[in-house]
Symmetry: none
Subunit: 321 residues, 3 copies
Amino acid sequence: MRPDDANVAGNVHGGTILKMIEEAGAIISTRHCNSQNGERCVAALARVERTDFLSPMCIGEVAHVSAEITYTSKHSVEVQVNVMSENILTGTKKLTNKATLWYVPLSLKNVDKVLEVPPVVYSRQEQEEEGRKRYEAQKLERMETKWRNGDIVQPVLNPEPNTVSYSQSSLIHLVGPSDCTLHGFVHGGVTMKLMDEVAGIVAARHCKTNIVTASVDAINFHDKIRKGCVITISGRMTFTSNKSMEIEVLVDADPVVDNSQKRYRAASAFFTYVSLSQEGKSLPVPQLVPETEDEKKRFEEGKGRYVQMKAKRQGRAEPQP
Amino acid sequence: MRPDDANVAGNVHGGTILKMIEEAGAIISTRHCNSQNGERCVAALARVERTDFLSPMCIGEVAHVSAEITYTSKHSVEVQVNVMSENILTGTKKLTNKATLWYVPLSLKNVDKVLEVPPVVYSRQEQEEEGRKRYEAQKLERMETKWRNGDIVQPVLNPEPNTVSYSQSSLIHLVGPSDCTLHGFVHGGVTMKLMDEVAGIVAARHCKTNIVTASVDAINFHDKIRKGCVITISGRMTFTSNKSMEIEVLVDADPVVDNSQKRYRAASAFFTYVSLSQEGKSLPVPQLVPETEDEKKRFEEGKGRYVQMKAKRQGRAEPQP
Amino acid sequence: MRPDDANVAGNVHGGTILKMIEEAGAIISTRHCNSQNGERCVAALARVERTDFLSPMCIGEVAHVSAEITYTSKHSVEVQVNVMSENILTGTKKLTNKATLWYVPLSLKNVDKVLEVPPVVYSRQEQEEEGRKRYEAQKLERMETKWRNGDIVQPVLNPEPNTVSYSQSSLIHLVGPSDCTLHGFVHGGVTMKLMDEVAGIVAARHCKTNIVTASVDAINFHDKIRKGCVITISGRMTFTSNKSMEIEVLVDADPVVDNSQKRYRAASAFFTYVSLSQEGKSLPVPQLVPETEDEKKRFEEGKGRYVQMKAKRQGRAEPQP
């Protein structure tokens, strides 16, 4: 991990870790999908399941990324990726992240054509059944979120501190050759890195301290982003708890040189950030003040996700008799 | 702004800011030139007007770049770009830079063909007339500078400190994919970043302190630089005032793998640098010792530009009755 | 491997591979040197043994880098690194590179102090004895080359094609944070990548075709390059055989902001390049025309290395009865 991978306090950006995770996932799933004779293909990221950043990684540490294929449906591959951080001076190793990604194989001859996935061999029979359940659950959720993301982030003049408008941020990025696969669409990991960057700016503007990514909600990639697009990544805060902030990030692709194609929503997700003191302890965050009806609605939805997640975590930590 | 965008003292390189400015200009002008049906095109940078760096930007700050089309001629687009730096911890915002850029739309089918620009709609009628004047003025200056840049930077053995030869520097750069647009020529912003890098090394060699870009003279792009070229960027000091250094930077392109084409001058400009103490105050600079007739002539020309610019600035600061 | 790692023909730069090799070596040797309690340290590259690029790597392939500690002396670590390329579409794997690197542990408190290396455990006893021989041999060679590289690359006006002056090239590079370890000196891999870049430009200027690195002579790092230096990397062709070019690359560090320190030679090596047709076959190269006495002397020395290496290779291929 190098200085450019980290924020001023030396904590590696969540986006850098997401990018590594996606690179590992893309390699293992492309390899698997080409393991039988037949049409050559490249694996495109379709979805990343909700993931927590369990411990921070710092500049100078070595990241170990390992990936395994855990399920295949007819047209998709599920990959489990683990990230460990190693301090090579002290020898300490820590689990940083566990993530689950879904890939879809696209034909090299025609990247709009989805190919079939060779079936994976399971060591235990239950694995297939468990995988199928995860597959069905994510398919359902993908469909739901497709409709959720209608609106866009509107700029507001002279916003008050602690409002949504005060911290909301957008960045535009002209897609270049090194952002893309050989087949002319943007790596999922590149998009996620930019999403985390915007979310981080929103969080820092809101609470004006050192902030780090705590978790990322499932990210759905509704459509490929092609070479030559300009992408707009917008972030707005949706909810704050005592010690965390939820930021919604929307990715829109705009094919500037191709008049025939309209701007489209390419991806969206919720990032959760926490604020850290100089000693690395989590700090209280200023409470968000939702103003419009939409903002109040999104705040309540965010609270719902927060309460649900907290319950899930407590459920795991203190198993019921 | 990341560690790599800045020098050892934490000040963001002028070249990094120029690169962002150009990216914004290229996006907005490419979008405008493709806004009507007709042949698809990409906007290529032709000229950047003289621009001052009004206040330094630091690592960790967020840069806001906004761009607006202010004039169109038949074959060119004028873009005004403003850069603000925001310290997201304190909320302080400062104007860093105002720049004016000229773009020319090149056909995607044949990048040697210039297309027509759709006319922009002006909100006030005077805007068109004022724009036309700026257009004529820059056209005239472009022609003049085309002839100015005959010579090259000649190396000298064992130079004395404070002479031109002592600090002059050249770097070669093999153009790579990420330096280029999708259509195979180098982004103007990439060239400007390299120009600033060389100017900064010349300035640092001369005064051996922390140095920052104060302003850049108009930069004319005489010709596109294509993928696969080696570019040589050479800088030499032309003039010093008490607290500033003027450095001429010349860009030559050499199509190494294409025997049929000769080396050509692609761009040139004057950069002004100042030397800063550790507290950020401007320091006196060692006086340049011109040795040859050419160096003495260039010193006097530099002095002329310096005096003229100083008069202009005072004229603005203290308006005459 | 991404577009930026490769030349226009899609072959990954030798320098990119050298950089990965060094990264692996630095990680494994830093980890080993900190494996016992005591003063914390970071491993600095001291030498890379001669290495051949056995088969080209292409954009889109996955590089597998594995490293192993093969010998330790009191103050140095020998690391063996292997690089495989994997085409994840076809499943083909090829050995690209085998390299041997020597590292020295520097104290984190004082990077000018060399610490002791914990001894490695050998699985066979001969390994220690063989390692000691390699250690003694490289020590001897390091001393010899220290004195060889007195001279610098002198520029020449209007050189003739095929002469040394015609293709010789220099680049200057201002050392930035991402070039450096956390302890403020440049990664050996970064230096090697720049060396390969200059050698490649010299080779391309000489033969104006697609060129690739075939091998690199032992590289000795005489001294650390510190943050804030400007480094000058110069390359000149020394010898051509029918189908290969030998280029000498010299690295000089110039501590621009520190007046007390003089410019010093930091590293040097010979790179061998071959010219490839569009089908990937090796092409004849234009013969180098040495002009000065020094150039003729260097040509003969290069011929000596070429003949010796060819004999060694044939010796390996057809072992003597």
